[in-house]
Symmetry: C2
Subunit: 92 residues, 2 copies
């Protein structure tokens, strides 16, 4: 399964009728055996910096950012969903 | 389907025997109707900056970075796979 089909599949569910511009950032950290289960402290700070970098290229309203963190075993997935303002399309 | 199960599923395929530390960054840009199909120039530059930010937190060998870009209709998915050096685990 490609990432494209994964996102296209998700898209069909959520935006069949409303055409909105969205940006999604996913950071997946897979750790090996003896280091798994420990929590890295840098993920929240890293996430803020990543959003700051993105906002240099694309105007982002902080209210439109949704952050979600999932942990399971040795895998940690940080998901940042950003809904872009309508008037941004002409600016980029 | 959650992101976690997506990554866990992919992980099982690729790393059943070798325990390696990996970081994966995915940037998905979904554009609305009239703006779809045009190519944004900022993605390659944005990708470089995102990797630079990540490397502030985690030592990254530039040779271990694999970048993949997929486009289809109004969806663009940038995937950056980073294999972390073994000796990095103790440093973070």
């Amino acid at each position: 399964m490609s990432f494209l089909s994964f996102f296209l599949g998700e898209k069909k569910k959520s935006t069949a009728s409303v055409a909105k511009e969205r940006l999604q950032l996913i950071l997946a950290h897979e750790r090996s055996g003896h280091n798994a289960g420990t929590s890295p402290d840098y993920l929240p700070a890293l996430q803020k910096e990543l959003v700051a970098v993105i906002s240099k290229y694309i105007p982002i309203n902080p209210e439109d950012i949704k952050v979600h963190l999932e942990r399971q075993d040795d895998l940690e997935v940080l998901e940042v969903k950003i809904e872009l303002p309508d008037n941004q399309r002409e600016a980029v």
